[in-house]
């Protein structure tokens, strides 16, 4: 028989922004990544308004201009492409389409995958099995090949690109949501609601969905990097975004033919992709440490007692 019961209060969630900021400051790499991403988002939002004209202005004198050339305007700091357009300005404009496409794809795959996952997890009817089989097919086949076939059929456009990326990433949300639902469904507060007479709609919307959402949002943040890489690979292979629109991936493809004469045309946009995805990965790594109660102390100050 239990005489003294461990009646532990769950520790206060480390959710306050002040604490998070302190953890972020303890990890300088994560701090740098966060600053870089913040600047990038700012550039993507305001950039086209500031340098949009420069990005499409042709300049005969600046054709294949090398980077760091001293006697040109600051906008040519990273050089210019074959048509003399400043690469820096094009990077800023490309950031908007690159991030925008990725965000749209991540959001729609989270929404569709999450919804299907809720259904497949809660119900045991035939359509749940069908949903799972479909996810298996998408999951077990290389995403790039699937995307290539679909894009070639439907024709490359921004909408189709978003659809394809969303479809190939969807199974992850679907499976995670389903796994969470399977676990939550057995939790006692769901049993309690059922025993009180709550119907499936109320249980899914009121009791299960609000608890699945944070997990999905976490995955979406990590998945963002993957989607950027997939999109740029598709654009690089020529099946992604089409001119006059462009993303960083398409910029690399443009520069590929001039490797030996003007390396910077392909180099800078690739570096931009790499820094963005790297920052996202560093931040999600940091977030994992914060969320893990066994590892969190690594980000804390650890003041020792006087002795």
């Amino acid at each position: 028989m239990t005489i003294i019961s461990p009646d532990a209060e769950p520790a206060a969630a480390p959710g306050t922004s002040r604490v998070l900021l302190a953890y972020l400051r303890r990890d300088r790499l994560a701090l740098a990544a966060a600053i870089f991403l913040a600047l990038l988002v700012l550039a993507a939002l305001l950039g086209p308004w500031l340098v949009g004209d420069a990005a499409s202005r042709l300049g005969l004198r600046q054709r294949n201009l090398a980077p760091f050339s001293p006697d040109h305007a600051w906008i040519y700091f990273l050089g210019a492409d074959t048509l003399g357009r400043p690469i820096l300005a094009r990077l800023v404009v490309g950031a908007q389409s690159t991030l925008g496409i990725a965000a749209a794809a991540v959001f729609s795959s989270m929404l569709i995958g999450g919804t299907l996952g809720l259904v497949a997890g809660y119900s045991e009817r035939w359509y749940s099995h069908l949903i799972l089989r479909l996810a298996d097919v998408v999951m077990s086949f290389p995403s790039l090949l699937l995307a290539l076939i679909v894009l070639y059929t439907l024709g490359p456009s921004i909408t189709n690109l978003v659809i394809v990326l969303a479809i190939t990433r969807m199974p992850i949300y679907l499976r995670t949501a389903r796994a969470e639902v399977l676990e939550l469904r057995e939790r006692m507060f769901v049993s309690a609601a059922r025993s009180m007479g709550a119907g499936p709609a109320r249980i899914i919307l009121r009791h299960i969905a609000p608890l699945v959402l944070p997990t999905l949002v976490t995955i979406a943040a990590i998945d963002f990097a993957t989607v950027i890489l997939s999109e740029s690979a598709l654009s690089f292979l020529g099946l992604g975004i089409q001119p006059p629109d462009f993303t960083w991936g398409a910029m690399v493809a443009n520069g590929r033919g001039y490797l030996s004469t003007a390396w910077w045309i392909a180099f800078w946009p690739g570096l931009a992709i790499m820094l963005t995805t790297l920052s996202l990965n560093i931040l999600s790594n940091w977030a994992r440490t914060v969320a893990d109660p066994q590892q969190r102390w690594r980000l804390q100050t650890l003041r020792k007692a006087a002795r």
Partner: protein, 576 residues
């Protein structure tokens, strides 16, 4: 005590002497002091019990002895640990390694987590011999088989190649013990070794530990939060609270005459059998009409197991019939796997039965659907074991309690919800302004009160309590049961009260049903069942509750299974 004296062979003096030990855990804020200037000693061959609740520092102090505290975030601020004349903190890693497992061994609370899941138990036991170069290969394996036999694992020659998940909870703890005694250590530290086990299994493990101690003469340091386990094992006892030792001394002395207020409070909370017989908590007003009648209820699970084994069937509930009258409390008692909780889930239509009928106010529950089922679910409510788990962590108390009204729209007009929540909170002894808080801001007892308020919201006739107080502190248990009894009188409720804990239902139930492996083994009025148990299983349950060491006959070996022991215990909860 005599045992302890007999087994002192290796000279006098303490085997372990801890002096001023202080351990911190570092974090963002000021360090958390887990162990605060703790000094105690363990004599050769004795049993020392360290008693305390979680967070009292009882486990941290012994983990420091075993060098199991990770630093950082742990930080050993000061103190010395002298083991057989060796200062442990000055040893190099190799020196420490030579002591761990060879001279001091340790067993833990949850053997499934503490055994490596991917290795056979034989390999894990043999590893002790191999790590200390005591035996290798076939010899180590033979030793492992011998140890398994010693700790009472049947068919050790074949079971040695089984994996931890293939054993029962009690057997896994036996495997842990086998591993710990492999090299005949001078001292065994047992950290809550029986906490997760059923009472009858707990009794067997405690017997095994006592026998092994007598055989090998090792010192036993037992960490527990359970006063009865402590009393049944201890020669000496240390009570810890908030990282400090608040009381220490010979076990009988501490129990009979506690000095520190904390210890006094603990000991006062033990249930007393004589008082229970005169309990006011039992029902006084049982009207004749039958509210629920269950007939031949059976729940069968089909376990698919491999291509060759075919299908196995497992009866969780096996032909169970009973009835509950208006205003009555029926206690259903059984250990884990007895099917008691399955009955609750089936009656509430959370699981479907394989066969059988259950009539609620004359109507078969299992044939209800649609509106009738919803109406039934309004009249019968459930209170779960873990009140925290049974509430959506994202909802505040107000929406938790008003959920029944959101489901059953005709129950209460929306503009009355707020007042009614306040009334219900007051009814269960909470404050109306608690309504805006979230479940995690309450203590366990308060949460269970909220769960009861929610159950009352739909004005039910029958409440099924599934281990409703098992997770609570004993003093809180008593309060919650008082509340349930009071509500029964005021609102004319009936209860089905499911528990593994016989003493608890004694206070409260009018009738008791004892279950084992899905079957009812005994049923009868509470006082009759306690004074003259008919079935062997009921008797063994009553007997399994640990008894103080100083009341046990010192020269008789521990009772063999099936043999009757004196029924009289110190705290009297089992008095016949």
């Amino acid at each position: 005590m005599k045992n302890a004296h007999d087994s002192i062979r290796k000279g006098e003096g303490p085997i372990l002497k801890i002096e001023g030990l202080t351990v911190d855990f570092l974090s963002n804020d000021a360090p958390v002091r887990a162990v605060d200037n703790v000094s105690f000693q363990v004599n050769r061959g004795e049993t020392l019990v360290i008693l305390g609740e979680s967070g009292s520092g009882k486990s941290v102090s012994t983990s420091t002895v075993m060098d199991l505290v990770d630093c950082p975030p742990g930080d050993i601020v000061g103190g010395s640990c002298l083991f057989d004349g060796i200062e442990l903190s000055r040893l190099d890693p190799e020196g420490r390694r030579n002591i761990n497992g060879r001279r001091i061994a340790m067993i833990f609370q949850d053997p499934l987590a503490y055994l490596n899941p991917v290795y056979t138990v034989g390999r894990q036991i043999a590893e002790v011999f191999e790590s200390h170069d005591a035996a290798q290969g076939a010899q180590a394996r033979a030793n492992a088989i011998e140890l398994l036999r010693r700790v009472g694992i049947p068919e050790p020659e074949s079971r040695v190649d089984f994996y931890p998940h293939q054993f029962s909870g009690g057997q896994r703890q036996r495997v842990m013990i086998a591993m710990a005694i492999a090299l005949k250590p001078d001292m065994l530290i047992a950290d809550e070794p029986t906490t997760a086990l059923d009472v009858s299994v707990q009794a067997q493990i405690l017997d095994l530990l006592r026998d092994l101690q007598r055989e090998t003469g090792m010192a036993l340091v037992m960490i527990t939060h359970d006063l009865e386990v402590a009393a049944s094992m201890a020669d000496r006892i240390i009570v810890m609270n908030g990282g400090k030792i608040v009381e220490s001394g010979l076990a009988q002395k501490v129990f009979d005459n506690p000095q520190h207020p904390y210890t006094r409070r603990l000991i006062a909370a033990l249930p007393h059998g004589e008082a229970a017989e005169a309990s006011h908590r039992r029902s006084t007003d049982i009207r004749g009409e039958t509210l629920l009648k269950v007939e031949h209820l059976t729940k069968e699970y089909v376990l698919a197991s491999g291509a060759f084994a075919g299908k196995r069937r497992f009866r969780a509930v096996d032909d169970v019939s009973f009835d509950v009258r208006k205003g009555e409390t029926l206690g259903i008692v059984g250990e884990s796997g007895s099917g008691k909780s399955s009955i609750a889930r089936i009656l509430l239509r959370l699981n479907e039965p394989s066969s059988g009928k259950a009539f609620y106010a004359g109507e078969n529950i299992f044939e209800m659907s649609g509106k009738r089922l919803v109406a039934f679910r309004r009249k019968v409510q459930m209170v779960f074991q873990d009140p925290y788990g049974s509430m959506n962590p994202r909802m505040n108390v107000r929406s938790i309690i008003s959920e029944p009204w959101a489901i059953h729209r005709d129950l209460l007009a929306r503009n009355r919800w707020k007042d009614r929540v306040a009334e219900l909170l007051e009814l269960v002894g909470l404050k109306p302004d608690h309504a805006e808080r979230y479940p995690h801001q309450f203590s366990g007892g308060q949460r269970q009160r909220i769960a009861i308020a929610r159950a009352l919201a739909s004005e039910p006739e029958l409440i099924v309590c599934d281990e409703a107080v098992s997770a609570l502190d004993v003093s809180i248990q008593a309060q919650v049961i008082d509340l349930l009894a009071d509500l029964r009188t005021r609102l004319g409720l009936s209860y089905i009260f499911i528990t593994h804990d016989l003493p608890i239902v004694r206070h409260f139930a009018d009738r008791i049903m004892v279950m084992k492996q899905g079957k009812i083994v005994e049923e009868g009025p509470t006082s009759a069942l306690f004074s003259a148990p008919q079935h062997d299983y009921t008797r063994s349950l009553l007997r399994a509750v640990p008894k103080p060491k100083w009341l046990m006959s010192t020269d008789a070996p521990s009772a063999a299974p099936g043999e009757l022991r004196p029924e009289r215990t110190r705290n009297g909860s089992m008095a016949g």
